[in-house]
C-alpha cells in the first residue's frame, strides 16, 4: 500500500493526487478546484457574522442529502438553536438526524464546573470518534473550539490539544472543517501561524462596509498540494445558504450577436437596420425625463406580445408606479404581467450588497429563464456601495446574460447631456453593443426630443440626430420614412 501512495504523491500534476470532497456550495468548488481536502483539516476563519457556521452547516447538509453522513460538533451553540438556525435556510436537520445522516454534538462548557487541575479534550475526541464510526461519517464540522480550548488556560496546552485532534483526524481520514475566529487575543500571530500550519486548507471570510453597504468576501489563503483561485471573491448568504459569485472567466463565453429583434418602436428599427440584436447589450442613456423607461417598456411590450419572457429589474420605481405611468404613452404592460411573460422585480440598490443583488438576479434568471433582461436604471447601481461596486455588479450581470444568450437592455440616467457621451460613466463600453442617446433640447419656447445612435456593433445605423415624440401612441421617430435610404 505504501507504494501506491508514493506513486501518487510523486505525481507532478498535483491536483490529481489530492482527493477532494465537493462542498456543493455554488462557486466555492470552482475556487477550490473541486472541493475540500478529503482527509485533513480545513480552517474556516472569520469574524463574527462572517458566515462560518452557515458554510459548515451547508457542507454537512449538502453531503447528507447525497448520502454522505456528517457530524457537527459545536462548542458554542445548543442543538436546538442550530436546528432552528438551519430551518431558516430550509435545511431540515431534524429529519436528517432521524435518518442517521447528521449528528449534532453540542459540547458546551458546564458553567457550574469547578476547575481543579489540568484536563484535556479526551472525552470530546472519544465521543466524536464513537459518533463518526456509528454514522460512518467522513465529514466533521468543528465549530468554535476556541470556546473550550480557552479553558485550558494556556496557549501551549491549546496547541497540544489541537495537534492531537488534528493527528486523530488525519489517522481516521476524516474531512474536517474547523471554524475559528479572526482574532486570537494575546500572542495571536504565532497562534494563527500554528493553526495555518496544521490545516491543509485555509479559507478566510470577511465582512466589510463600503460606503454604508456591507459586502462579504472570501479568499483561500492556502491549499496544500492543490491549485486554487487566488483572488478575493464576493459571496452572499441568501435564504438558500451561502453562494459564491461565479468567477468572471478569463475566456469570454459570450455568444455571437444574433438576428435583429424589433425594438417596439418602428422608427428605431428603421434607423438601426432592424432593432436590437439577440445576445446583445443595448444601453439607452439620457438625462431625467428623456423617455428612457418608455423606450425600455416599448421593447418589453413588444417582446412579451411575441410570447418571449422578459425580466424587468427596476431600481427606481415600484411595479404599480411604472405600469400606471406607461399607460400615458399607451403601453399597457398588464397583459404581460397576467400571462406571466413579464417578471418585474423592484428593489432599492442600497438595500443589500452587490453579492446579494447578483444572487437575486441570477436566481430569477435560472428559475424564470427569460430571453430578455431590462435593467432600469444602471446609474442607480452606484448606490450599492461605490463606483467599483456598480461596475462589478453590471459587468458580472451582463457577462452572465451574454453567456446564456439573454439579450439585455439597460437604461442609464445622466446628470447632463455632456456626460451622456461618456456612455455610462462606468467604463462598461466594452460589453455594450449599442448605445442610444436621448436628450431634450429647448428651442424657442418649446422642448424637442432628440435621439442619436452612438454605436451599434456590426450593423449599419443612422448617424443623424433624429427628433422623436412621445404621445398616447407611444414613441414615434419623426421624419424617418423618407430618409430610410440615408442610413449609413
Amino acid at each position: 500500500m505504501g507504494e501506491d501512495t508514493e506513486g501518487n504523491s510523486g505525481n507532478p500534476c498535483f491536483s490529481a493526487a489530492i482527493r477532494k470532497i465537493p462542498t456543493g456550495i455554488d462557486g466555492l468548488d470552482e475556487i477550490l478546484d473541486g472541493g475540500l481536502p478529503a482527509a485533513g483539516l480545513t480552517l474556516l476563519s472569520g469574524g463574527p457574522g462572517s458566515g462560518k457556521t452557515v458554510i459548515g452547516l451547508q457542507f454537512l447538509v449538502q453531503g447528507a442529502l447525497l448520502g454522505h453522513p456528517g457530524i457537527m460538533l459545536t462548542f458554542e451553540e445548543r442543538e436546538d438553536s442550530l436546528r432552528r438556525y438551519s430551518a431558516a435556510f430550509g435545511w431540515d436537520i431534524g429529519t436528517l438526524e432521524a435518518k442517521g445522516s447528521i449528528a449534532i454534538i453540542s459540547a458546551r462548557f458546564n458553567p457550574d464546573a469547578i476547575i481543579s487541575g489540568d484536563f484535556d479534550l479526551g472525552s470530546v475526541m472519544a465521543i466524536l470518534r464513537h459518533k463518526a464510526r456509528a454514522l460512518e461519517a467522513r465529514r466533521v464540522i468543528i465549530d468554535a473550539p476556541d470556546v473550550l480550548l480557552r479553558l485550558l488556560g494556556d496557549r501551549t496546552k491549546e496547541r497540544g490539544q489541537l495537534y492531537k485532534l488534528n493527528e486523530w483526524l488525519r489517522d481516521d481520514g476524516l474531512c474536517a472543517v474547523m471554524t475559528v475566529k479572526d482574532s486570537f487575543g494575546e500572542g495571536s500571530d504565532s497562534y494563527r501561524e500554528f493553526l495555518h500550519y496544521m490545516a491543509e486548507c485555509v479559507i478566510q471570510l470577511d465582512q466589510r462596509v463600503m460606503d454604508q453597504v456591507t459586502t462579504r468576501r472570501m479568499r483561500v489563503i492556502k491549499f496544500r498540494g492543490s491549485a486554487y483561485g487566488r483572488n478575493e471573491y464576493p459571496f452572499g448568504i441568501t435564504r438558500e445558504g451561502a453562494m459564491v459569485i461565479p468567477v468572471t472567466h478569463a475566456s469570454l463565453g459570450h455568444r455571437a450577436l444574433g438576428e435583429s429583434i424589433p425594438s417596439g418602436i418602428a422608427g428605431l428599427d428603421t434607423i438601426t437596420s432592424g432593432g436590437y440584436r439577440r445576445n446583445s447589450c443595448t444601453l439607452i442613456t439620457g438625462t431625467s425625463g428623456t423617455g428612457k423607461t418608455t423606450f425600455a417598456c416599448s421593447f418589453t411590450r413588444e417582446a412579451t406580445s411575441r410570447g418571449e419572457r422578459v425580466f424587468y429589474l427596476n431600481f427606481e420605481e415600484s411595479l404599480d408606479a411604472m405600469v400606471s405611468c406607461m399607460l400615458g404613452p399607451g403601453i399597457d404592460l398588464r397583459p404581460a404581467l397576467e400571462s406571466g411573460l413579464l417578471r418585474f422585480v423592484s428593489i432599492m440598490p442600497e438595500s443589500q450588497g452587490i453579492e446579494e443583488h447578483l444572487i437575486q438576479a441570477f436566481g430569477v434568471i435560472s428559475e424564470f429563464e427569460p430571453s430578455f433582461i431590462v435593467v432600469d436604471a444602471i446609474s442607480a447601481c452606484r448606490r450599492m456601495g461605490s463606483e467599483q461596486a456598480a461596475f462589478d455588479y453590471m459587468l458580472r450581470l451582463i457577462d452572465h446574460c451574454k453567456a446564456r444568450g439573454i439579450t439585455s437592455v439597460l437604461t442609464n440616467l445622466t446628470a447632463n447631456s455632456g456626460e451622456a457621451m461618456q456612455i455610462t460613466g462606468m467604463d462598461l463600453s466594452s460589453v455594450i453593443d449599442m448605445v442610444v442617446i436621448l436628450r431634450n433640447i429647448e428651442t424657442s419656447g418649446s422642448m424637442e426630443r432628440e435621439l442619436l445612435i452612438l454605436k451599434s456593433r456590426g450593423r449599419n445605423h443612422s448617424n443623424r440626430v433624429h427628433r422623436f415624440g412621445i404621445s398616447s401612441r407611444g414613441v414615434e421617430i419623426l421624419g424617418v420614412g423618407q430618409e430610410s435610404g440615408n442610413v449609413c
Binding site: F109, I115, S116, G117, G122, S123, V124, R129, H130
Partner: protein, 120 residues
Amino acid sequence: MSVSKFDGASPALKCVIRFFVAGEAPNSIIARDNLRRLRESLPEIHFEIEIVDVNVNPEIALQKGVFVTPALEVLEPPPGGIFYGNLSNSDPIRRLIETSKDWPGSGPKGLSEQQTAGHR
C-alpha cells in the same frame, strides 16, 4: 423516626462519585492517584465511585455532557457538583464534601431531610 440513627457515634457520610477518565491519558492517571489520596485523607467518609472510561463508554460521557477528561461528578451528598481536571488542586472538592459532612452539626433534622431528598 430515622433521626435517632445519627445521634451519638460519628455518622458515616456517603459520597457517590462518577469519575470520567480517558484510558491511560496522563491527566487521567494523575487524577486517579489524586482521588486515591483524597479518599485516604477522608477516612470517615464512605466513597462509592463509578469510573467511566470515555474511550470505552463514550455514550455515557455524551449523555452526561462531559466533554473534557478527567472530570468528576459528585452525585451525593447534595448539592453535588462537577469538577474538571486532574485534581492536583483537590481543595474545592474536599471543601464541598466537608461542608456536607458538617451538616449534622447544624441539626439532625436538617441532615435527615437532606438525605431523604438525595435518595429520592
